[in-house]
Amino acid sequence: MQILIDGVSKSYMDSKQGAVLALDKISLTISENEFVVLVGPSGCGKSTLLNIVGGLLSPSGGHVFVEGLPEERDPAIGVVFQDVGLFPWRTVADNIAFGLEELGVAQPEKQARLARYIKMVGLEGFEHAYPHQLSGGMRQRAGIARALSIQPDLLLMDEPFSALDAQTRTLMQEELLRIWQATRVTTLYVTHNIQEAVYLADRVVVLSRRPGRIASILPIELPKFSRDKGENLPAFNRYAEEIWNLIRDDAQQALLEGADG
């Protein structure tokens, strides 16, 4: 199964400037079992593209196709949102079960999957806690478990760790790699953190800004683990440097515009 993003454009209506072109003819293929990271400066349209791929926003032009599903059905897409979006009125277990309920998964299977994914993200013992009783990192892990438990054909993640402190973030990145290794789910991951992109990706897609276009696509040819350590470190830094050079001007521009209000 692969995801084909074919000439996707998106313009937003803006009261001041008229139509703003957020994405301009993006074409990209995400292969089965591939971990693609979308990186780019603030406002380049990363979230927009992710929402379009997830079927939560209509593109102004172009199409997104899913090819080669084993049977005739809609693809199962698991989304991890930037602000997690755990329902405050559901316990951790009931939050993770939400997608399973909507899929109509039978009770014994549901319990089995719940147990499995709660264990996978290390939330045993917190099944009956409410989201407000969890730390930020635990909430993110619950959000990841919720997305994984439906055993998605495609996993979409929008800056899932951007609200976490640096240490937690590093741990969660390692955790994500471990989980990904176990599931090998096709993933589109959005971040504005270059190190994170190089750390996680099979391929990094660099977006430029105004309009959002693909500036470059870099396959990361490093082993999947310990990329930022030992002998891998020089190559890791070269990749990061290369990406930084690609988006530096855009990022500065974004900062200036932000300062103007």
Partner: protein
């Protein structure tokens, strides 16, 4: 070198009063009241002492008079409150959730809402007669508006992210309504239910004072006409207790239904 300890200037925010404070405050009020009404300057006709009210209340309870009136009032309020809050929640959900319902219903809701419902009482009696139906209807109306408007506001306040999450996991419209919109609006719905509790008591008494043989409102009016202030005050005290119990009941239900509210 001098040394000064840093003290927590925020501590007063965490102050907790001892559990006996409310009781002492109530007892003090009763004692002062008792003393004032027994003093030579105040006639017991204008302000009967609490002890006399309690004694009269016991008499009226024993004779069954209190009971029949209380039951009549409780029946009306239960019917009107239940009807008004169910319809209010349903209409509020519909207005908040469906763009068409919102566009069509909002102007009507907001133009009727500010009308004091007591002003409609003569009209309702004209339409529905002076029986039970008109009394229950006026209470229903009084409950409906605050509940509907709070429910609507509750739905509108729900973070769109929650709806997005639900939809991303393939929830349909009904699923979103049942699993996101309703639980998300519950805190506001309960705020509306609490507001409506006070309104419903007010309208109950008003309706019973206009036309009723039985009911606490009728009892108060009756003893007022006869200048039997002590018995009148029994009715007032019963209303006060009713209001307190009503709020406590709603609060207890709220705690059960919204355990996730910290």
């Amino acid at each position: 070198m001098t040394r000064r300890e840093v003290v927590n200037r925020f501590a007063f925010m965490e102050d907790k009063a001892a559990s006996w404070v409310p009781w002492v405050s109530i007892c003090t009020l009763l004692l002062v009241w008792e003393a004032v009404s027994r003093s030579p300057w105040v006639s017991a006709l204008y302000l009967p002492p609490p002890s006399a009210i309690v004694a009269a209340g016991v008499d009226m309870a024993v004779s069954g008079e209190l009971w029949t009136n209380l039951m009549a009032s409780m029946g009306r309020i239960a019917a009107g409150y239940a009807l008004g809050s169910i319809v209010g929640v349903l209409i509020g959900l519909a207005l908040g959730f469906s763009a068409i319902a919102e566009a069509a219903g909002n102007p009507i809701l907001y133009s009727l809402y500010p009308v004091p419902k007591i002003a409609l009482l003569p009209l309702i009696i004209l339409w529905l007669g002076i029986g039970e139906v008109s009394k229950i209807t006026i209470i229903t109306l009084g409950v409906f508006f605050p509940v509907a408007i709070n429910t609507y506001a509750g739905v509108k306040n729900i973070d769109p992210l929650f709806v997005k999450v639900a939809v991303s996991f393939r929830a349909n419209r009904l699923g979103v309504l049942r699993k996101v919109v309703l639980p998300g609006a519950l805190p506001m719905i309960f705020a509306g239910l609490k507001l409506a509790a006070g309104t419903s008591l007010l309208l109950l008494v008003a309706a019973e004072m206009i036309a009723a043989k039985e009911g606490i409102g009728a009892l108060i009016l009756h003893y007022g006409d006869l200048m039997l202030t002590t018995k009148l005050m029994v009715g007032v005290v019963v209303l006060s207790l009713l209001g307190v119990l009503f709020n406590q009941a709603i609060h207890a239900i709220e705690q059960r239904v919204i355990p996730w509210k910290q």
